[in-house]
């Protein structure tokens, strides 16, 4: 089925060209987004059909003359192709309605199918050159989309940071592949696999892959571009970047760490676990301090990537200790979370895009009361919030439950680093889950609930039907994946089989459709029964009470302690909601402090409260590097103004030095 997949990519490239021509016409949007929708659905179906099938390879005569361009569709690639297809189908459907509000469609329409083509190509690539080509295509197309609204404040800076970090990730991956190809220079993945790199080289390659692919995925401290770039792009592109592109980066890491490098070492698992844990907690703490809805969602992506890397680290740890069943469980948990996150993060970005369209505001402190004005968007956003906070019976809970089961599996690992890192990661995972719930109570509560804080929020209207179809579809997927998790686990069976050598026991035959990842005496979970029980008891209770007790309702003003204040500005804002958590965690992590200036008694001037947060990662790592680069370039600037004699001296000196080196080498 790889040939049809490649045809889909070709179709996307044609759509990109069509987008360039038809961008300014009214039907351009329908052509590009409608075409992308059809192609994405096709590629999703192809991927689902190929997961259980045997791997296929094809070599095209384009690219480098001695390797050609190899493409491979094995179970891992098929799973990620399905994730990409699902995410892009949803985004294209959403964009059919959302794209109506785009002022400069010629900056978005040609690059959108190009971005999708890049995403698909990365997953299918089977040699280093096509992989890196597709990676760069993905980065450049998304950079163009980020810069599409370049006149808005902050977007130019966002695009600049993004392109620097994307180039950095491409460079590190180039180093990684170069190291793996070794002196023989075989860049095809099959050649690298057969080459059996030595353990030192393998460990270094895994670290480079963690830095390169991790930077694209958003691990701390390489995440700084994510909260700048994801909000700057149009909402359907933000959904793709957060929900799909980060997963493609995770695919890159899995491909290198589990497939190409060979048997992992335990201390690389410790590094991945440490990185994953820190990313998870820091991501959600940053998100809690934000009041821009899209930046909050982008920081939250960082947290979920951390959770995925915790699962991957566990899989590496178990694989290093020759425990394939445990590695399969951890890998299943991580991949399930990949799917879950792409679904609910896209849903949340669609919702924030809908809010942006309806009100023109991204700042949640200017919103409020939208549940009355935009009820359908509010309902789907609520389902997304509940899913991302890992509440049963939705899908976020299942992947978190599987990760905890993986943590519990083997407390008797021999290495001390793992003995300490795994329970620490369990604590960090639990902490990040609790903070995520807090974050989304804030996001939903301040944006949709309460009373409208500005006139724009008070006059919002529901969005168009395409956006609603996309949001309802993804919300339904969240619920279905939570109620029938056995389907997903069985679908992931061939993937874990290929990577770890074994897979979890088949889930679909179990009674009442529960999931039993290890043994039924040990643990089991039944999402369907829990959902039925909760829904059933709630409805029966409501029916009984309304029938036999009372059902009368009276409307009245809210309780105000006798001091009525009709202004909605007295409500809690995002910053007020996060203040207790800012005080508990923020004083350490962000050096958060508040400065309160009160006028003396009798003075009618306003009191002021300022809160100060410092981003320690930016100040500690990136600002010094930028400073050094700036100073170096200032110093080197003098080279621009030399005389001709000085330039000739340079050339002469370089020639002499090279000849010396040649002489000494002999």
């Amino acid at each position: 089925m790889i040939i049809p997949a490649l045809f889909c990519i070709a179709a996307l490239l044609c759509l990109s060209v069509a987008g360039a021509f038809f961008a300014t016409t009214p039907s351009g949007r329908t052509i590009v987004y409608g075409g992308s929708l059809l192609v994405s659905i096709a590629s999703l179906l192809i991927a689902l059909l190929s997961i259980g099938a045997a791997p296929e390879t094809v070599t095209l005569p384009i690219g480098l003359p001695w390797t050609g361009a190899n493409f491979n569709l094995d179970p891992l690639a098929a799973f990620f192709l399905a994730v990409v297809g699902l995410g892009s189908a949803g985004a294209s459907l959403y964009a059919l309605g959302y794209g109506r509000h785009e002022h400069e469609p010629q900056r978005v329409l040609p690059f959108y199918p190009l971005f999708l083509a890049g995403l698909n190509l990365v997953v299918l690539a089977a040699d280093a050159f096509s992989f890196l080509f597709a990676w760069e295509l993905m980065s450049l197309a998304s950079w163009a989309l980020v810069m599409s609204h370049h006149r808005e404040s902050g977007n130019a800076h966002a695009g600049y940071v993004y392109i620097v970090m994307a180039s950095f990730s491409g460079l590190v991956l180039l180093l990684c592949f170069g190291l793996l190809a070794g002196t023989t220079g075989g860049y095809a993945f099959s050649a690298i696999r057969a080459g059996h790199p030595s353990s030192g080289v393998a460990a270094l390659a895994l670290l480079l892959a963690l830095i390169g692919a991790g930077s694209k995925a958003g691990v701390v401290p390489l995440h700084v571009w994510l909260p700048l770039a994801h909000p700057a792009a149009p909402s359907h592109v933000s959904a793709l970047m957060s929900g799909v592109m980060t997963k493609v980066a995770v695919y890159g890491f899995i491909r290198i760490a589990f497939d190409l490098v060979g048997a992992p070492t335990w201390w690389s698992a410790v590094i991945v676990l440490a990185v994953g844990g820190i990313t998870a907690v820091l991501g959600v703490l940053y998100a809690l301090m934000e009041h821009d809805l899209k930046r909050l969602l982008a920081y939250h992506t960082v947290e979920n990537i951390g959770i995925i890397f915790i699962g991957l680290g566990l899989a590496l740890a178990f694989a290093a200790n020759q425990l394939p069943a445990a590695a399969a469980l951890a890998l299943t948990a991580a991949l399930f979370h990949v799917f879950n996150h792409s679904v609910f993060k896209s849903l949340l970005f669609f919702g924030s895009g809908a809010v942006l369209t309806a009100t023109g505001e991204r700042d949640m402190d200017h919103l409020g009361g939208l549940i009355h004005r935009m009820p359908k968007t509010a309902l789907t956003f609520l389902i997304g919030c509940m899913a991302i906070s890992a509440l049963p019976p939705l899908n976020g809970f299942v992947s978190e439950w599987l990760t905890f089961q993986a943590i519990l599996l083997h407390p008797d690992l021999p290495q001390w680093g793992l003995k300490i890192m795994i329970p620490a990661d369990g604590a960090l995972l639990a902490l990040s889950a609790a903070l995520a719930a807090a974050c989304f109570v804030k996001a939903f509560g301040v944006t949709f609930l309460g009373r409208p804080r500005t006139r724009a929020a008070g006059q919002a209207r529901e969005v168009d039907r395409f956006s609603l179809y996309a949001m309802f579809g993804f919300a339904a997927l969240c619920l279905l994946a939570g109620i029938f998790p056995g389907v997903m686990i069985d679908l992931l069976g061939p993937v874990t089989q290929a990577l770890t050598g074994t897979h979890l026991p088949t889930q679909l035959g179990l009674e009442w459709l529960s999931i039993v990842p290890i043994a039924s005496a040990r643990s089991s979970y039944n999402g369907l029964l829990l959902f039925v029980f909760v829904a059933g008891s709630a409805s029966i209770t409501a029916l009984v009470i309304h029938r036999y007790a009372s059902r009368s309702v009276r409307r009245a003003p809210a309780w105000d302690c006798g001091f009525p204040d009709p202004r909605p500005i007295t409500q809690y804002t995002g910053a007020s909601f996060a203040q207790p958590i800012r005080r508990v965690f923020g004083t350490v992590v962000f050096r958060a402090h508040e400065i309160v200036t009160m006028p003396p008694p009798g003075d009618i001037g306003p009191a002021r409260i300022e809160k100060h947060l410092s981003d320690l990662i930016w100040d500690g790592i990136y600002a010094p590097i930028a400073d050094v680069v700036w100073r170096l370039s200032l110093a080197l600037n003098a080279l621009q103004f030399l005389t001709i004699r000085r330039y000739l001296t340079f050339v002469f000196a370089a020639l002499v030095i090279l000849l010396l080196v040649l002489a000494l080498w002999q």
Partner: protein
């Protein structure tokens, strides 16, 4: 099959019936310690009956979320309480959710409650919701760490299996269990809005956490929420009883029921005495208190990983 179904149904009805009685017992003990007569033990039932018949007064800004939240909170807490073995282990549907699922179900109830608090659009709801999520951000990880340490000792996360293991002689005295018990009691006090974390009987809005979230509720909605709060207290007491004091599970339903009632009574009296002996903490001392619980439970898990016998 039918008998199993009947036993499960009886357990669900039992927890529902006993929950207000436990609350009444705690109030009675506190009143007696204050040298008052106090309300009768069945006063909570009378309160629920009265509230169910009253008209609901909704604020003008309340949405469908505010109106459906009490039923959802009650249903979720009831399902979670029905999953805990009370007088017998191994009930029919006890395998559909383990301890992690129970913790997460209570988290869902809290999520919906906090959202309902934000719905009104006054600052009281905000103060309740923001303090509640701060407490939860430390209490829930502590709870999960306790679950992990208990699961590592018993070899399973299913409560029935854990109860059977703890009741057998294989458990023994373990330091992680002691740390877990101390941490669990702290978490239970925090989650059920008891002194020293929150005062369930306060009328001052600035001292409220849970009460501020339900400030706007009235009539049948308030009845549902109060019943859910009593159920949550019963759930926590049942979990402590079945993990740390698993006596009486082996001897049939009658013995199990008797032991369970005795455990509830002892817990109610101890809770009342404890609440009367210390004062409520300032809000920003609560993170230190819960942080200590989180550290103790983390220490328990660490000991189990690092040195297998502990």
């Amino acid at each position: 099959m039918i008998q199993d179904l009947l036993v499960q149904g009886t357990q669900m009805a039992l927890v529902l019936l006993l929950a207000p009685l436990l609350t009444g017992l705690v109030r009675k003990v506190k009143a007696r310690l204050q040298r008052r007569r106090g309300p009768s033990l069945i006063q909570p039932y009378r309160d629920l009956n009265r509230l169910l018949g009253k008209e609901v007064v909704l604020s003008e800004n309340a949405s469908w979320l505010f109106r459906t939240a009490p039923y959802v909170i009650f249903a979720v807490t009831w399902v979670a309480a029905a999953l805990v073995p009370t007088f017998a282990t191994g009930l029919l549907f006890s395998w559909s959710g383990d301890l992690i699922a129970i913790t997460a179900l209570l988290g869902s109830a809290r999520f919906v409650q906090a959202l309902a608090a934000m719905d009104i659009g006054t600052s009281f709801g905000g103060i309740g919701a923001s303090r509640e999520v701060m407490i939860a951000s430390l209490a829930e990880p502590a709870m999960l760490m306790i679950v992990l340490s208990v699961a590592l000792i018993a070899g399973s996360t299913q409560l029935s299996t854990i109860a059977d293991y703890m009741a057998s002689s294989a458990a023994g005295l373990r330091m992680s269990l002691a740390l877990g018990l101390v941490a669990f009691i702290v978490v239970a006090l925090a989650e059920n809005a008891r002194i020293p974390v929150d005062n369930p009987a306060t009328h001052l809005e600035l001292t409220m956490v849970h009460e501020a979230m339900v400030l706007e509720y009235s009539g049948r909605h308030l009845a549902m929420i109060e019943l859910a709060a009593s159920l949550k207290l019963l759930l926590y007491v049942s979990v402590i009883a079945c993990i740390f004091f698993p006596f009486g599970f082996g001897g049939g339903y009658a013995i199990g029921l008797l032991c369970y009632l005795v455990k509830l009574g002892v817990a109610g009296v101890l809770l009342g005495v404890f609440e009367m002996s210390i004062a409520k903490m300032r809000v920003f001392r609560v993170p230190n208190f819960l942080g200590a619980a989180l550290m103790l439970s983390l220490l328990g898990v660490l000991l189990l990983f690092v040195s297998g016998g502990m």
